[in-house]
């Protein structure tokens, strides 16, 4: 099996079958990272370029490690060293990179739609590593893999996503992913951070966090960006933390076997208390481990599996 598509740009485009294929492939790759020699030769001779226009540690490193564990050659380009600061257009950058014959470009950009534009310029595969407030498909896939491991299923679950929904690509990708798999997603946040028409994406919407947490199987806390305070999305970090921050008291609303996810990096004591972040329900580090496996699967299904058909 392989993905019958050139690029992985978002969860919205994927079918349930494709999601299941990526997740089962990722589950089978997890074992590679537990070996003494953490490498398989599957993508030997393939070249992956990580083109990051936004700062990222976790995601970029995860893509790089995933490529290397598959024996692909990985090259990192970050904005501070790229030609973008010299005024080169995305199109010119894309065509120059393509002239070096990569097999895949992994791109992150602060503008929504950049990977889609890039995919139209180049013949190689393009993987979206986060575009503006649009999508972050590999994050949603690693979240789904983490939930599936613990819950054994992705259908019939109650998922609460709490925080700044308006600016979150993680929220959008997860709404698409979990609803496609048959779970019920509720998003919660201050009304200033709930984007217009979000319920039309197939989720419940509330500004009452207790309501969102009641009976939840999974709680996903989103990172709050401190600079939103000066834009009046919320008055103070203190108030945000009191109303929306996840602590032991609020956690009691959820199911006893609730699990907690966070895409990181976390603001301790703001959207999540330290006790909760470090507590038994927290799977934040499992998410990071699964991120590598999911990205190995993405590379494999886009670049490697074709020849085996």
């Amino acid at each position: 099996m392989r993905l019958k598509r050139k690029d992985l740009l978002g969860i919205e485009d994927l079918t349930r079958d494709e999601l299941e294929l990526i997740l089962s492939t990722a589950a089978s790759f997890k074992e590679v990272s537990e070996r003494e020699i953490k490498k398989v030769p599957t993508l030997r001779g393939k070249t992956v370029i990580n083109l990051f226009y936004e700062p990222s540690t976790r995601t970029r490193t995860s893509f790089e490690i995933a490529a290397k564990r598959m024996s692909a050659d990985a090259v990192n380009i970050s904005v501070s060293t790229s030609s973008a600061v010299k005024g080169e257009t995305l199109r010119d950058t894309a065509r120059n990179l393509e002239a070096m014959r990569p097999d895949c470009i992994v791109v992150r950009h602060s503008s929504s739609g950049t990977p889609h534009m890039l995919a139209g310029y180049v013949g190689c595969s393009v993987v979206n590593a986060g575009d503006g407030a649009h999508e972050h498909p590999s994050q949603a896939l690693l979240d789904m893999l983490t939930v599936k491991e613990k819950k054994g299923t992705l259908s019939g679950l109650k998922i609460a996503i709490v925080g700044d929904i308006a600016h979150s690509r993680v929220a959008r990708s997860n709404i698409y992913g979990f609803t496609k798999m048959g779970s019920e997603v509720t998003v919660a946040g201050p009304p200033t951070m709930l984007p217009a028409g979000i319920e039309k994406l197939g989720c419940r919407v509330t500004s009452n966090v207790e309501d969102a947490l009641r009976g939840a199987d999974v709680i996903m806390m989103l990172r709050i960006q401190m600079e939103r305070q000066s834009e009046s999305f919320f008055p103070t970090v203190r108030e945000y933390s009191r109303v929306y921050g996840l602590d032991e008291a609020k956690l009691k609303r959820a199911k006893e076997d609730v699990i907690i996810l966070h895409p990181g990096p976390i603001n301790r004591g703001v959207e999540i208390s330290s006790e909760v972040a470090d507590g038994p329900y927290s799977l934040i580090l499992d998410q990071v481990t699964n991120g590598v496996a999911v990205r190995m699967a993405i590379f494999y299904l886009l670049l490697g599996a074709a020849k085996e058909e």
Binding site: E12, S112, G113, A133, H134, P195, A196, I198
Partner: protein, 251 residues
């Protein structure tokens, strides 16, 4: 005297309440008569040029009261020659060009430069002067001079006039020169960094939305100020239901 007949087109002219198939007879550059196609039994002499307009729409020269010819300053986007030719190709015979050039058309020398460049172009060019110096939204332009040098209206188009007090003065002051104030009706803080209409499509695409209220609040404000001052207000590129309703009620 040169003669011309435009035959068989669908002639549309709201000013004469015309919409039908007519032959148009032109003498010496002026329309001499219009005859219904089916009732027209005129013989056309060999000295007459005939334009077969079958399947075409024939209209009086159109006027576009809102164009950007970009010259001076932004010739890499457009210039007076290319914009004029494009207008003519689209059936326009006159255009009003906005003031957001570089330098801004906020004084006689820029207006005269535009008019000089417009000489010999296939359409007539009527410059619009700026409302405020440099379109900075601080001080009014010398509208009397703009008028006498050839401007037909004033506008800071591209930039909303945020200060209500200044907008009041602009409507008052321009009225003595019979120049309407053409507004770019948007509240900048409601627009923010938005790039499309606010709603589920923007949310799905991960783009920042602009609510309709960003336009509606300024249209409502400017209508109140026009009423207060008796000035002439022209709201450019109306794009919301709310604005349409406000303008209809105000009229």
């Amino acid at each position: 005297m040169n003669r011309l007949v435009i035959k068989g087109g669908r002639v549309v002219d709201p000013a004469q309440n015309l919409d039908g198939f007519y032959n148009i007879y032109v003498m010496g550059g002026r329309v001499a008569s219009i005859k219904k196609v089916e009732a027209d039994t005129s013989e056309v002499g060999t000295d007459v040029d005939v334009v077969d307009a079958t399947g075409l729409v024939v209209v009086p020269g159109l006027i576009d009261p809102h164009v950007h010819l970009r010259e001076p300053g932004y010739e890499y986007k457009e210039d007076i020659a290319t914009g004029s030719k494009a207008a003519a190709a689209g059936g326009f015979t006159a255009v009003m060009c906005m003031a957001n050039t570089k330098p801004v058309n906020d004084n006689e020398s820029v207006t005269r430069y535009i008019l000089k460049k417009a000489e010999g172009q296939p359409v007539r060019v009527f410059p619009v002067g700026a409302v405020t110096q440099g379109q900075k939204g601080e001080r009014l332009t010398e509208m009397g001079e703009l008028k006498s040098s050839g401007c037909v209206a004033v506008s800071d188009d591209g930039v909303p006039i945020s200060d209500p007090g200044l907008m009041r003065r602009a409507l008052e002051y321009s009225s003595q020169f019979q120049m309407p104030v053409i507004t770019h009706a948007e509240d900048s803080s409601l627009v923010g960094h938005g790039s499309m209409n606010e709603g589920v499509v923007a949310t799905r695409l991960g783009l920042k939305g602009i609510p309709n209220a960003a336009e509606d609040v300024i249209v409502a404000r400017d209508i109140a100020l026009a009423e207060l001052t008796g000035g002439r207000l022209h709201v450019a590129h109306v794009s919301t239901r709310g604005s349409v309703e406000l303008i209809r009620r105000a009229k």
